[in-house]
Structures are given as structure tokens and as C-alpha cells.
Amino acid sequence: MFVRMVGLMIFLLASHLAKAQPTMSEYQVKALFLLNFIKYVDWPAVAMPGANAPLVIGIMGKDNFNDYLTNAIDGRSVKGRAIVIKHLALNDAPGGCAILFISSSATASLGKILANTGTEPVLTVGEDETFLDKGGIINFKLDQGKIRLEINLKAAQKANLQISSKLLNLADTVKE
């Protein structure tokens, strides 16, 4: 009887957790996605100075992540590197960042920012419909409450970044 009750409790808990997932907020998901990008993108050696040098995620514009990103990182390392969040101003050179998230708040200056990155090995991630056209590499698109990816493979190649085909497979749109 006891075993059954425990079984039942576990079942209830599990179903609760399963239901909890879709309730994650948009930026919570985006934060996870940002971190996951690291696994599917290979940076050229020049972009990664030391073996143990932290991988920097730069955020431009308004930080909507709140603590989500920090929580998601939670001190863990990806590809053997610690992850550091760096808030950048719109004018800041993105050099030193592996990933540069450009918030929707910076949409106005998007062109300028992306031009600044130039051929720097920086994975630019945005949340604007025009992001890819403006030379961004990965764009978060909101589709029926779900976050979908759009990838500009040409821009990636320009930035000398290798994006895993797996990631490419997930993308709704791959611009070449």
C-alpha cells in the first residue's frame, strides 16, 4: 500500500512538472536558448583567447532577462568555459563577446551595431524581424507563443562562425 501511495505521489509530482514547463516566460526560454547556442556554434580560435578564458555573452539594449540568464548559467561552464554576462552599450564595440544579444529596445540602432561587429567572430542574436536582413546571425521569432529561430548562414560565415547543422535544422528560416 505504501509503495502504491509513493508511486502515486511520484506520478502526481511528475505530471505537475510536465505541466509547469510551457509556463516558462519568454525570456526565460530565450536565456536558455542563448546558452544552448554555445554548444552548436564553433568559434574560430582567435575569438577564444585562452583555454580557460570565460565565454562572454554581451547584452545590448534593455535587459529583459532579469535574473533568468544568471540563474540559467548558475556558475556552470559550457565547453569547459565559464560564462560571463556583459552588458554593453549600444556604441560599445562588441569585441571580446562570443555572443551578442541585441534586445528589441535597440532595434533603432541595429544597423549601426551590426555594422560595428563587422567580421568579428561574434554570434549576433536578435529579436527583430529585420535582424537577419541587417546582418544579424540568429533571430528569435515568436510564433504562436513559441520561440522559433531564424538564421542567417551568410552572416555567420562572414563572422567566421560554424553553426551546427543540428541548429540549422531547427531554424524556421535559414538565410544564405
Binding site: 511528475a14 514547463q21 544552448n36 543540428k166
Partner: protein, 799 residues
């Protein structure tokens, strides 16, 4: 197993090879299949792992970026593998992230509870859980489940192949083995065939043919060697069997011989014999036993001795004793018994029984019963006889002495002792001669060497002695006559002399009287003899007179019939014609015939005269014969016969002549067959008398016969120291029953016969030292009388 036992070695060999091949092949196939299955499983696991890992790898991004759709797409790539039943992806917290279900399955695939990294074979399923890791970070788990159809279809294929291989190799093995097993079975079959030939035909001379030098070759060699030995032994055996058979045959013959001997002995003995076994069953008995005990035929086969004895015991006077003895003897089987049984019917049996032993073991008893009734009787008779004899001896008028070989008195009867004036006991053991025979009648000494009694002891001849005297105890003597004869004991050896003596004092006197009487008697008998002789003579004279009578009748008839009367007629005729006699004789027809007639008459009369003269001569001879008979009668009356020297043949011719008239009259042919004999000294008339008698008899025999060719043969011949005169006729013959009586006085077969002729002839022949015999083959076969007399040729003084 018995089935296997029955199958031939050929089949067995094939079976073994096939079985071996089959098992080896099976094991090989099993090993291969197992190996293949294992390999295939490993391969399957590897395959599926690879697939799972690919899926894992490809679905990591989908997980990372929460894209179940993409994951599902990835999973749907598994459609290329038809064995995969289903697959799913779990998130790190165990939630099912994406599911793949094989479209053709009826039952939908439901993901199991997540496991981390696991390979499970179960329920015809291969299940694999593999972690999804991206950049060293676990993202979730992929689960792939495959059915084992591939394995099964592969197994099926393997089994098919295995079966094919099995069948094919089986065929090949069968062909090969049936070909190759001949190498083994061939010689064995040859061996078997040979063995069978040996068994069926008992022919040990056959040999198996050796085909190879292997162990079978050695076996065949050994078999052949064995056969050779058997053959040799067989020959030996046959030989010894033959010997044995011959011995057995010989033995059997011996046994049969001895059995038949025993049987014959059993049956030939006068004893009744019965054999019984220890159980008292009758094993054997002879006919005599059955006969003696009057055992009924129908109960002969009843073999129970006890019953049989009880049933016959009533024949015995004392049945209880009889049966008790039997019982007693069967209680003591090794005893012999002997007793005498008296039967109610007066018979007396000796019963003797003896145990029968075979190798010191008593197996029965043989009883013999001897009927001693006769013996008893003769013993009694003997005893009686003995008593009678001694009574006779004692009461005998004669004295009897038995002297032993030394002349000592061994026995004497009381009469002898009394006559000699002794007691019986006194004389026994005394020398006979010196006791009573020492002195002769005339008073001189009588030497023992002259004593006839003692001589008899020497030469064992019987002697009758007269005119001697025996001397009494008191010195007086008496005249005796005695006979001494040798006596033999029961074994036939000489045991001395018996002397039987009589006191002849009285008989001497009687003898004198007897002598007188005897002389008188002789006289009387002489006269009686004379009468007989007279009859004989008269008969002879009568016979001759018969001839005389016949002759005279003949002469008178002749004269009566004489043609002399015719002569008178002629004379009368001549007288009548006396005047013209000449004319009468020449011209008269009667007269012309007269001279011839006269000549004829004269001739006739001369013949008549001759016949009359002849008859008259015969008459004369007969009368002479009568004279002779009378002379002979005179000489016989003088008792001494007249011995004359004559030729026997003359005598025979005389006898024939005396009868010649009668013989001629009756047309009897006489044949004379005379051997030449010298003149002999005989009593002529006696012989003549016999011969006349015989010839006459022969003539009568011929008379009575119807035979046309009447014939008498007289034969004179010499036969050693006898001469024989046989008178043989072919007349009426003599019946066999009369042959013995024919010489009896008064026997005759003729009406006018007086039965004296042959009787007196026979007596005369005997008197002359000869014999008269007769022989005839019966009525109608004639007869032969044979007179045999001593052959005494005359010895002339000149010689």
C-alpha cells in the same frame, strides 16, 4: 534394440555411418547457428545502438531548443528500419519529448519508463536506452525498440540451409557408406556365407576367401584354420564314432545275445522265476512261474508283487507263513532265503530267493520256485525202493556177497550169512576166498589164483559156476551154484564183484528128475516135428502129383482127340475101293487127294506121338521126383540131411522142369539169368523142395494176373559168402500188409492153398543157414522171392 539386432551388419554399418554423420552435422549446424545467432544479436545490438546514438545525436538540438517536432522528424527517419517497432525521446527529467511509432503496427507504441543507458532483450524485443549528450551535457534519453523478426527470418534461413545441407550430406554419406561399407561387410558376408554353408551342409571342407590383409583377413584366416581343425577333428570324430558305433553294435549284439540267452535260460529252466525290485514290483518272470502258480492270463500284467502274492497265497497250505516270510525278506533286503512250500493241491515247491545287486546296491530280489513234487515223490519212492530192495535182498533165497576190489566182503545179505553159519557182521571185512572157498570139492586146496570169483575181480567177466562147494563156519560144506559179476558204482567205475550163490543140495536132486523129464519132452517134440515134416512131404508129393495128374490128363485128351480115327476112315475108304484101288487113286476125285491126305495125317500123328512122348517123359520125371521126395523124407526122418555136390543151376533147372507143363499150359515165359557158380555141397532135396514151391507160387501168381505178358525170371547169383536164387514174377503181387504174414503157418491167399508151403520153405532156409525173403511193390506189381544160402563150393580131394 531387438529390431537393431535383427538388421544385417550391412544395414547396421550404414546406419552407424549415417548416424555418426548426422550427429556430427547436427552438432556442426547447431554450433554454426548458435554462433550466427550470437553474432547476429551482437550485430543487432550494435546496429540499434548506432541508430539510437544517431537519433540521440540528431535530436540533441531539438531537445536543447525544445523542438519536439524536430525531434519527431529525426525519429521518423527510423522508418527506414522496418524492424524498429517504436522509439521515443525523453527529456532529462523523464518526460517523453517525442515518439515514433511504426505505422503498420496494430497496437500503438507506448514508451516505457525512462532508463539511462540500457540494452534489453526481452519479449521478442530488443530495447535500447541511450543518453543524449551535447557538448558533454546530458540532455535526455533516446529509446529505440526493435522486434527480432530479422533474427527469426535469419534463423529460419539458417535452418533451411542446415536441413538442405543435412539432406544432401546424408545422401552423399549414404551413397559413400553403402559403397565403402562393402570393404568391411563384404569379407564378413563372405565369412557368414561360408559359415552358413558349413552349418547347413555340415561341410567342413569349404574355405572363406581372404580379400584383404587387415583384421578381417586375419579373422578369415583364423576361421579357415578353425574349419581345418574342425574338419580334422570331424574326421577323427567320425572315425571314433564309427569305432564307437561298431563297439556299440558289438555290445548291443552281446547284450541282445545275452538278453536272449537270459530269456531263453529263463524260459528253458524248469524253475519258476520271478524278479522284483525293492519296491516290490515284479520286473520279470517266466512262463513257468505263471504256470506253476496258476496265475490267470488276464492278470499277468498286474505287476504289484504284494497283491500277486496275496492272490496266490491261498494255494499254499500256510498262507500266513508264506506272506510273513516275504514281508520279512523285504525288510531285510540283503538276506537270502530258502524254504519249502506245501501247496493245497499236493505239490511241493522249493522257494529260493536271492537279492539282486548292482554295484553293491540291492536293486531287487530274484525268486525261484522249483516244483519238487516229482523229486519228493521219487525220493520217497527211492526210499521205499531201498527198503523194498533190502527187504528183497533179505528175504531172497540166494545168498549175496559184494566183494570189493581186494576180494574183501563188503556186503552180504542175511541169507548168505545164515547159509554159511555166520552172523552178518562177522563176515563183513573178511577175505571171501579164505573164509569160505579155500578147499575144493575133493578136499584139495583151492588156490586163490584159480578162483573164478577172484578172476572176475581181475577180468570183470560174468561167470556162472556150478559144482563147487562153499565152507561153513563149522567146517562143513555144501554144494553151490553161483554167478559172479562185476559191479560198478554210480559213477560207472569198477567196484568189485557180486556173488549170488544158491545152495544146490536140493536142486541137484531135482535136476536129475528134470533131465529125465527133458528127455521125455524131447521125444515128444521130435514126434511133433515129424508130423509137421510129414505134412510138408505130403504137400510136396501132392504138388508133384498135381503135375502127374495134369500130364496124364493131357496125354489122355491127346489120345482122345487123335486123328487115328481118320486113319480108320481112310482104311475103310481104301477097303471100299480095294478092287480098283489104282483107278480110285488116280481118277476118283476123293482118291486123288488121298495120298496127300495120308502124308498130312502121318505128319500129324508123328507130332501127336512126340507130344505124348514128351508128356510121358515129364510124367516119368515127376514120378522120379516123388520118389526123390520119398527118399528125402526117409533121409529127413533120419534127421541128417544128405549132402550132395551139385550145380545150383542144375537144381534150378530141375525145379523149373518139374513145373514146365503147368508153365507152358498157362503160357508163362521163363527167363533164366544164371551166374556161373562152382558145384556146391548142399542138401539138394531141401533146396529143390523150396524152389519147386517158389516156382509154383510164381506160376499161380501169374495165373491170377490179367497181364498178357506173363513172365517168371529165375536169377542165380553170388553175393559175397552167400548165393542167391531169386524167383521173380510179374503176377498179381502181394499187398503190403500181407508181406509180413506170408511166411506164417496157415497163411494163404489161394482158395485151395493150405498155407504150409512158404512157411516150411522159410523154416528150411533157416535150417540150411540161410533165409527166404520176399519183396513186392504191392498188388499188380509182381513179387520177388529171394532164397539166400551159404556159399560152400565143393572142395575136391584132389585140390
Amino acid at each position: 534394440m531387438s529390431l537393431l539386432n535383427k538388421t544385417s551388419i550391412k544395414q547396421k554399418q550404414t546406419l552407424i555411418i549415417m548416424l555418426t554423420c548426422g550427429v556430427a552435422l547436427l552438432l556442426a549446424c547447431a554450433a554454426f547457428i548458435s554462433y550466427e545467432v550470437m553474432t547476429f544479436r551482437t550485430a543487432m545490438v550494435q546496429n540499434l545502438s548506432t541508430l539510437a546514438e544517431i537519433v540521440a545525436n540528431n535530436s540533441s538540438a531539438a531537445l536543447d531548443f525544445s523542438d519536439p517536432k524536430a525531434a519527431k522528424e529525426t525519429l521518423s527517419a527510423l522508418q527506414a528500419e522496418p524492424n524498429i517497432v517504436g522509439a521515443c525521446i525523453y527529456t532529462n527529467d523523464g518526460q517523453v519529448f517525442a515518439v515514433y511509432d511504426r505505422p503498420q503496427d496494430a497496437t500503438p507504441f507506448s514508451p516505457p519508463a525512462r532508463q539511462i543507458d540500457q540494452t534489453i532483450f526481452s519479449n521478442n524485443r530488443l530495447q535500447i536506452f541511450r543518453p543524449i549528450v551535447q557538448a558533454g551535457e546530458p540532455l535526455g534519453t533516446v529509446y529505440v525498440v526493435s522486434d527480432l523478426n530479422a533474427l527469426y527470418s535469419r534463423l529460419e534461413k539458417y535452418f533451411l540451409i542446415a536441413a538442405g545441407v543435412f539432406f544432401a550430406s546424408g545422401m552423399v554419406a549414404f551413397l559413400l557408406s553403402s559403397r565403402l561399407q562393402q570393404m568391411i561387410s563384404g569379407p564378413i558376408l563372405t565369412l557368414v556365407k561360408t559359415a552358413r554353408t558349413v552349418t547347413v551342409e555340415k561341410n567342413y571342407s569349404v574355405r572363406a576367401v581372404k580379400q584383404s590383409d587387415d583384421e578381417l583377413g586375419v579373422l578369415i584366416d583364423a576361421f579357415n584354420e578353425m574349419l581345418k581343425q574342425i574338419q580334422e577333428r570331424d574326421v577323427d570324430l567320425q572315425e571314433s564314432q564309427l569305432k564307437l558305433e561298431m563297439r556299440v553294435k558289438a555290445r548291443t549284439e552281446e547284450v541282445v545275445n545275452s538278453l536272449s540267452l537270459i530269456q531263453a535260460t529263463l524260459e528253458s529252466t524248469t524253475d519258476g522265476i520271478l524278479a522284483t525290485d525293492v519296491q516290490g514290483r515284479m520286473t520279470s518272470f517266466n512262463e513257468k512261474f505263471i504256470e506253476m502258480w496258476h496265475i490267470p492270463r488276464e492278470t499277468v500284467d498286474e505287476r504289484d508283487y504284494g497283491k500277486k502274492m496275496t492272490s496266490i497265497s491261498h494255494l499254499v497250505r500256510d498262507p500266513d507263513k508264506f506272506l510273513a516270510r516275504i514281508k520279512d525278506l523285504y525288510a531285510n533286503p540283503d538276506q537270502e532265503s530258502f524254504d519249502v512250500l506245501e501247496l493245497r493241491d499236493g505239490r511241493v515247491f522249493e522257494r529260493y530267493s536271492k537279492p539282486q545287486w548292482i554295484e553293491k546296491r540291492c536293486v531287487g530280489r530274484v525268486w525261484s520256485f522249483r516244483d519238487i513234487t516229482e523229486r519228493k515223490r521219487s525220493e520217497e519212492q527211492l526210499e521205499r525202493l531201498g527198503k523194498e530192495y533190502s527187504a528183497v535182498l533179505n528175504s531172497l533165497g540166494e545168498g549175496i556177497h559184494w566183494l570189493d576190489r581186494n576180494g574183501t566182503i563188503k556186503f552180504e545179505n542175511p541169507v548168505a550169512a545164515k547159509m554159511l553159519g555166520y552172523e552178518v557182521a562177522e563176515l563183513i571185512g573178511k577175505p571171501a576166498h579164505f573164509t569160505m572157498h579155500h578147499t575144493r570139492t575133493d578136499g584139495t586146496n583151492y588156490p586163490v589164483t584159480d578162483c573164478p570169483i577172484y578172476t572176475t575181480l581181475g577180468d570183470r567177466a560174468v561167470r556162472h559156476v556150478k559144482d563147487e562147494v562153499f565152507w561153513r563156519k563149522d567146517g562143513t560144506s555144501f554144494p553151490v551154484e553161483y554167478t559172479c559179476a562185476p559191479i560198478h558204482d554210480e559213477k560207472g567205475s569198477f567196484a568189485g564183484t557180486v556173488v549170488i550163490f544158491t545152495d544146490v543140495t536140493e536142486s541137484k536132486r531135482a535136476e536129475m528128475e528134470l533131465e529125465q523129464m527133458h528127455a521125455q519132452l524131447l521125444d515128444t517134440s521130435r514126434q511133433a516135428g515129424m508130423a509137421e515134416v510129414a505134412t510138408s512131404v505130403l504137400h510136396n508129393v501132392g504138388n508133384v502129383l498135381n503135375s502127374v495128374n495134369v500130364s496124364s490128363t493131357l496125354v489122355s485128351n491127346q489120345m482122345r482127340k487123335s486123328k487115328i480115327a481118320n486113319l480108320s476112315k481112310v482104311v475103310a475108304m481104301l477097303n471100299e475101293h480095294a478092287a480098283d484101288l489104282g483107278a480110285f487113286l488116280t481118277s476118283d476125285p476123293k482118291g486123288k487127294q488121298l495120298p496127300a491126305y495120308l502124308a498130312q495125317l502121318a505128319e500129324h500123328l508123328a507130332g501127336e506121338q512126340a507130344a505124348v512122348l514128351k508128356e510121358l517123359k515129364l510124367l516119368h520125371e515127376n514120378i522120379e521126383h516123388i520118389k526123390d521126395i520119398v527118399v528125402m523124407q526117409q533121409s529127413y526122418a533120419k534127421i541128417s540131411g544128405v549132402i550132395e555136390t551139385v550145380k545150383i543151376t542144375d537144381l534150378v533147372e530141375d525145379a523149373l522142369r518139374m513145373n514146365v507143363g503147368a508153365l507152358q499150359r498157362h503160357g508163362v515165359e521163363v527167363r533164366q539169368e544164371f551166374d556161373e557158380l562152382p558145384p556146391m555141397d548142399v542138401e539138394k532135396h531141401k533146396i529143390l523142395q523150396i524152389l519147386v514151391n517158389l516156382v509154383r507160387n510164381a506160376k499161380y501168381a501169374c495165373d491170377e494176373s490179367v497181364c498178357a505178358d506173363k513172365k517168371i525170371t529165375v536169377r542165380v547169383s553170388r553175393k559175397e559168402d552167400l548165393f542167391q536164387i531169386a524167383v521173380i514174377d510179374n503176377g498179381i503181387g502181394i499187398a503190403a500188409e500181407n508181406l509180413v504174414r506170408i511166411f506164417n503157418h496157415g497163411f494163404t491167399t489161394r482158395k485151395e492153398g493150405h498155407g504150409f508151403g512158404l512157411h516150411s520153405s522159410s523154416l528150411t532156409a533157416i535150417e540150411l543157414g540161410g533165409s527166404l525173403r520176399v519183396h513186392s511193390d504191392g498188388i499188380g506189381h509182381g513179387a520177388a522171392f529171394i532164397l539166400e544160402l551159404p556159399y560152400k563150393p565143393h572142395k575136391s580131394p584132389a585140390q
